[in-house]
């Protein structure tokens, strides 16, 4: 095989934009070392270490905020250079932009809050393993990689880093049958989805000659491209989207979600519902952004719109019939994936004329709300047992009024009641959908929001109205970490709802008017 036609010169690696990921990863390694040096002791040092590492990484992203390039409008895709362009560090494998930073920040915040209330819960469940913390941190690194790359192979590696750590975490309570069952189901379906994704990547690679997703617009724009390549490409895109469907829990690939959410330890479920969903949607947005050519978009956009409606409807309808609080939130997370998909569909349809701020805002609001809700739900773990049926939460307002009040805020946000972040997020999605003439999607979103109010109210009633059942109710004493986590989440949800425009401006993800019609930059040969 002739290698000599264009010598490969390695692009200089720019480390600074990757520093947050590296810090989180190294923090995980340090935590592991601490656990190895002082086995079977308290995890306080590990907790402090991981929180400090996450705080530093988050601060670095915030400090770097203005340095990152604005999200590239789609016309920029055609002007890509493989490696060496200022926004793509590491030879085109890592992209340094606002969108990636926002998703990374959501992931770091989710991990931080999860770790805050983990230690108390793990002790009550009698599973205080030090390995938990490095695994959560590494999982977060995988998610951060997924959101900041346009190379499908690197994306696959990020996904596996995220997933493999989560498989272990789901089965953390290895003596308990539900936890085992959750781990096995998650593992088998996750690996199954990965193989679909991988085969799709192979087909896309076959059609375009690169695993970089910008190969797709390059191929579509090339007049002399082989017509069979287009067919292979469509097959590849379909399979990659199926893989995404599993990871983001879209109907009909959602079957694993409720079982895994119910069986896994509550802190792991919290991270899974927020962090892993944010990462999956971050990557989905990157992928979808590269396939908006007119020849391709007709093939997948209508399908994705139908999947969005199915996802929210099925999620909400089945949630109505559930008795287990963790399962309810599990089905509710499926429904929220459907709402988010509406935002993604509208964004893809607009081809860059509406910004990504809706997706990021909703992801942020959803993640914070869900983690907060799970923080409160984790209170029923006591002396190794945990009841998560709705009746187990009866009378929480008497034992822990603060947690119960926070729960009301979270349920209001998930249901979309003003003045919470969830309400504004839904409003933004609604506006985007109408803006792009997806009236039927907007109507489906509205009906589903009303439907979802019923099961969120059931949780509120269980927590606040019903009297405690003395034989049944057992609550752990809320510790400082859990109260801080719930309080911070509740405050953040309310603040997002009240200071919406400030939040949206700081994110800076909606396109300014002049760059919407940016002139197509000349393709530079590598």
């Amino acid at each position: 095989m002739n290698l000599g036609d264009a010598p490969l010169t390695p692009a200089p690696i720019v480390w600074e934009p990757m520093l947050p990921m590296i810090i989180v990863f190294v923090t995980g390694v340090l935590c592991m070392c601490v656990e190895m040096l002082r086995p079977k002791q308290t995890n306080n040092l590990i907790v402090v270490l991981s929180l400090a590492g996450l705080a530093v990484a988050g601060a670095l992203i915030v400090l770097d905020w203005t340095a990152a390039v604005f999200h590239q409008p789609p016309s920029e895709f055609f002007g890509v250079r493989f490696g060496g362009s200022p926004e793509e560090a590491g030879g085109g494998l890592f992209i340094h932009d606002r969108f990636g930073q926002s998703v990374q920040l959501i992931l770091i915040a989710s991990t931080f809050i999860t770790i805050l209330f983990s230690e108390g819960y793990l002790r009550e469940r009698r599973i205080p393993f030090g390995e938990y913390y490095p695994l959560v941190l590494w999982s977060a690194v995988g998610g951060m990689i997924m959101a900041s790359t346009r190379d499908l192979m690197i994306f696959f590696l990020g996904l596996e880093t995220l997933s493999i750590a989560l498989y272990v975490l789901a089965g953390l309570n290895s003596k308990e049958k539900r936890s085992q069952e959750a781990a096995l189901k998650y593992f088998l379906l996750g690996a199954f989805a990965s193989s679909f994704l991988l085969f799709g990547i192979a087909l896309i690679y076959g059609a375009t000659g690169t695993t970089h997703i910008l190969g797709i617009p390059m191929l579509m724009n090339h007049a002399s491209a082989d017509p069979t390549a287009g067919k292979i490409l469509i097959g590849g895109i379909a399979m990659v989207l199926i893989g995404f469907g599993f990871k983001a829990a879209l109907v009909p690939f959602h079957m694993w979600t409720p079982d895994v959410y119910q069986g896994a330890p509550t802190t792991v479920t919290a991270f899974m519902a927020a962090g892993s969903k944010a990462a999956a949607f971050g990557a989905l947005v990157r992928f979808v952004g590269a396939i908006t050519q007119p020849e391709l978009i007709d093939a997948w956009l209508p399908a994705l719109a139908i999947v969005a409606v199915l996802t929210m409807t099925v999620g909400n309808l089945i949630a109505l019939a559930q008795r287990d609080a963790k399962r309810i939130i599990g089905y509710s997370s499926i429904a929220h994936a459907g709402y988010l998909l509406v935002a993604v569909v509208a964004w893809a349809h607009s081809r860059g004329s509406i910004g990504l701020d809706t997706v990021v805002y909703y992801l942020g609001a959803y993640s914070i709300t869900t983690i907060g809700a799970f923080a409160v739900l984790s209170l029923t773990a006591k002396a190794g047992r945990e009841g998560t049926q709705l009746e187990d939460y009866n009378g929480l307002w008497k034992r822990a009024p603060f947690a119960a009040a926070a729960m009301i805020v979270f349920m209001a946000s998930l249901a979309g009641v003003p003045p919470t972040g969830g309400f504004v997020g839904k409003l933004l999605i609604f506006k985007d959908a109408l803006d792009q003439d997806y009236t039927w999607l907007a109507i489906a979103l509205g009906i589903n929001s009303v439907l979802s109010v019923f099961y969120y109210l059931r949780i509120v009633f269980a927590v606040c109205v019903d009297e405690p059942d003395e034989r049944r109710s057992q609550f752990a004493k809320p510790n400082a970490g859990m109260l801080t986590a719930a309080g911070a989440c509740a405050l953040a949800v309310l603040a997002m709802g009240v200071f919406t425009s400030a939040v949206l401006q700081t994110m800076g993800l909606s396109l300014p008017a002049e760059s919407g019609s940016a002139s197509r930059s000349v393709a530079q040969k590598p």
Binding site: V168, L198, I201, G209, P526
Partner: protein, 114 residues
């Protein structure tokens, strides 16, 4: 000796993938299911290698041929490493279940439903 055409490799890859996918759906033993998943991953590997071999004239002509060729072969190395990590985790999970349950039929995994 004539070379195997690209279509031949791809057909084999597709057959392997479908056999794996059907196996995942109909088999009951998690270890066998996992073997089927490995089959699907290897189908993807075969597709990667076949495409790498036949990319003498890249379909997207702006990409240098050497980049194309390396890209597919490196992908296979990555996939093999990932698959090895998955085996380690998967067998660990199955072992943990076997210790408490004595049987690992997937149909018995029905503590949670609804």
């Amino acid at each position: 000796m004539t070379e195997v055409p690209l279509a031949g490799y791809l057909t084999l890859a597709l057959i392997l993938f479908v056999v794996g996918a059907v196996g995942v759906v109909i088999k009951r033993n998690p270890i066998v299911i996992f073997m089927c998943i490995e089959l699907m991953l290897n189908a993807a590997n075969l597709a990667f290698l076949a495409f790498a071999k036949y990319h003498t004239t890249p379909l997207a002509p702006d990409v240098p041929a050497s980049y194309t060729f390396m890209n597919g072969q490196m992908a296979v190395i990555f996939v093999m490493a990932v698959a090895a990590a998955e085996v380690a985790i998967g067998l660990g999970i199955i072992m943990a279940i076997f210790r408490t349950r004595e049987e690992i039929d997937i149909d018995e995994m029905n503590l949670m439903k609804g």
